[in-house]
């Protein structure tokens, strides 16, 4: 019984072992099959043996401890890399330091993931020198320099290992930009540009060319949106007939195009504001590009001790003192109508919806003149804005401080309204007084 029983037990054991072996074989086959597309590239010669050797380890979920306590993933998605534009240059095309030493035995300390990304950012420039140079002058690079940890480096937009050629990007997803600028992208997606890009030739075939983010903001030389002139000239570069079209119906069209941002009329639901940029008339350089911002800030605090919105007199003092004490020599304020938020600036509507009524701005109490900011311009083109009282546009002091900005009716000077009333009273007082004097004299005759 026991023998039978033990024989039976051995038989059972053999069948379990066989099942396990079969299962293991099946799993191996499944793993092999799953891995086949990636390794097929290696087999096809898309990857070198060296790369295959790297990926043998890095296709696994490796992690490296960093000095900041975090874990850096060393995993490379094999299929993505094989499919990337960089598969041709291989792993050592970027990771040359790895090739020149014994890897992985030699350990290299990495402070943080950000530090590693910044270091690798320099490597991109080895091949993409022109692009790297453009990036260096961009708002993104300036933010990096300022220590902004959220500011993107090359790999944040292009990814580290799944780098695709530009032509393969699906622009409408806005993937790169959307990651950080989601609300702006959503506004864009619903705009006339986003709709045209998504739906193609709903209006006309050329709309398939409707701009994506980089068309207006540049791909690498990304400029501060606040540098409105840049964006405006970009609008006109596609809408080349727009200036002429405005000339046909809009009085002073050229002047309007200069001092009113396109979005202020073409994003009709947007909240508008007036930005008064401190600007040196003589050197033609915005204040802030040459002067230390902290110095300006201190001057502002000295003048506006209550730290509320700048009133007309405070603004006048600020302009005067910036001329006298700052590096600028003859400071003025350049007024410009803008939309209040970046998202609003992207809510561009179809032409028929654009603001066309002059009264929208050219009358007292217009919403366009309720929000006023005074700005200096940082060296990277970004504006630092300070809130100002709306009276700065209608005070008599504005003749001196805001001499370059005036919207008939909308920013009229209150004192002149009073003078007009006085003028009418005086003009009527002469006949009334004269007749009265005549009657008095006749009565006394």
């Amino acid at each position: 019984m026991s023998t039978n029983s033990s024989r039976g037990s051995r038989k059972d054991h053999q069948s379990v072992s066989g099942l396990a072996a079969l299962l293991a074989c099946g799993m191996m086959m499944a793993f092999t099959l799953a891995s086949m597309p990636a390794f097929a590239n290696i087999a096809d010669g898309a990857m070198s043996d060296g790369d295959a050797k790297c990926l043998k380890c890095h296709s696994r979920n490796l992690k490296k401890s960093m000095e900041d306590g975090g874990k850096l993933s060393l995993h490379v998605a094999v299929a993505d890399f094989a499919d990337s534009a960089h598969s041709k240059i291989g792993c050592t095309g970027c990771h040359q330091d790895i090739a020149n030493r014994k890897h992985p035995k030699t350990k290299v300390a990495i402070a943080s993931e950000r530090d590693y990304s910044l270091a690798m950012n320099q490597v991109c420039g080895n091949c993409h020198a022109a692009k790297a140079q453009q990036y260096e002058g961009s708002i993104h690079a300036n933010l990096v320099t300022d220590g902004d940890h959220a500011a993107p480096v090359c790999t944040d937009c292009h990814s580290a290992h799944a780098v695709k050629s530009q032509a393969l990007y699906e622009p409408v997803t806005g993937q790169s930009c959307k990651t950080c600028h989601e609300n702006i992208f959503e506004a864009y997606a619903q705009s006339v540009h986003g709709e045209a890009r998504t739906n193609g030739n709903v209006i006309r075939a050329s709309h398939i060319q409707a701009p994506i983010c980089a068309d207006c903001h540049q791909a690498h030389d990304v400029k501060a949106v606040a540098a409105g002139e840049l964006v405006q000239s970009t609008c006109l570069s596609c809408h080349d007939g727009a200036a002429l079209a405005h000339e046909k119906w809009l009085p002073n069209a050229g002047h309007h195009l200069e001092i009113v941002s396109c979005a202020a009329c073409h994003a009709p639901m947007a909240e508008r504001r007036i930005d008064l940029q401190l600007y040196d008339k003589l050197t033609q350089v915005p204040v802030g590009q040459q002067e230390n911002q902290a110095v300006f800030q201190q001057r502002l605090e000295d003048i506006d001790q209550s730290s509320d919105d700048l009133d007309p007199l405070e603004l006048w003092k600020l302009v005067r003192r910036t001329s006298q004490e700052g590096q600028a020599t003859d400071v003025t304020l350049r007024g410009r109508m803008e939309v209040s938020t970046g998202a609003d600036a992207h809510r561009l509507a179809i032409k028929g919806s654009a603001v066309r009524e002059c009264d929208s701005c050219h009358q007292k109490g217009s919403s366009a003149f309720q929000n006023v900011t005074v700005s200096i311009t940082r060296p990277d083109g970004r504006k630092q804005r300070y809130e100002a009282d709306r009276d700065v546009l209608t005070s008599v002091i504005s003749v001196d401080t805001v001499g370059n900005f005036y919207a008939a009716g909308g920013t009229r000077i209150k004192l002149l309204d009073g003078l007009l009333i006085l003028g009418i009273i005086a003009g009527l007082a002469v006949p009334v007084g004269h007749i009265a004097v005549g009657k008095i004299l006749k009565r006394n005759q």
Binding site: G403, F405, I413, G423, G427, V430
Partner: protein, 217 residues
Amino acid sequence: MQAMQANQTHVGQTYLHPLPVRIWHWINALGFVLLMLTGVQIRYADLFSVMTFESALNVHNWIGFVIIANYFLWLGYYLTSDRISNYHAVLNAKDFFNNYYRQAVYYSYGIFRGEKRPHNVQPHDKFNPMQRLTYQVIMMISGPIQIVTGLMMWDVKRFESWIALAGGIRVVSTIHMLVFILFVVFILVHAYMGVLGRKPSTHYKEMFTGYAEDGDH
């Protein structure tokens, strides 16, 4: 010659206002009123809505050009006529102030007493001292200022450098407004002074006929 013939047929009257001056005057009068009304509509769209801002601006601009052309009609006439003496400045300050004072006293007192007018009106000296100064300022200072500032605002880009020289568009606009206020006062007083003839209609009629009654200025 024309005046002499006129004097021959209008006893007790002087041919004071030649045809070009009368045409200029009434075009100017109508233009001024329309410019003022459309100007008020432009500036005070929140208070008046007789027409849209766009229409008011267009009408204002067109009339502005008519007034500019009209100004040159006036200027051309006087520059080629010996009647420009009407606008000559009185260089003797003592005479000027004495005559100005006498005219002011007349307007404020003598006119009600039926006194003789202190200024003897002649075709080549038709303005009394107060009128002469007023019209010198209106025609040679404030009028041109209004024309130039109006042109600057009509096409800001075209006159960009002039505007910069003036100190900016708001400066230009403010000057335009100040001169407008001056014109408002002038028009009201001018219209009233027009009724101070022998009869209230006398001076108005003479601006149509050209003939002024002797001793009525």
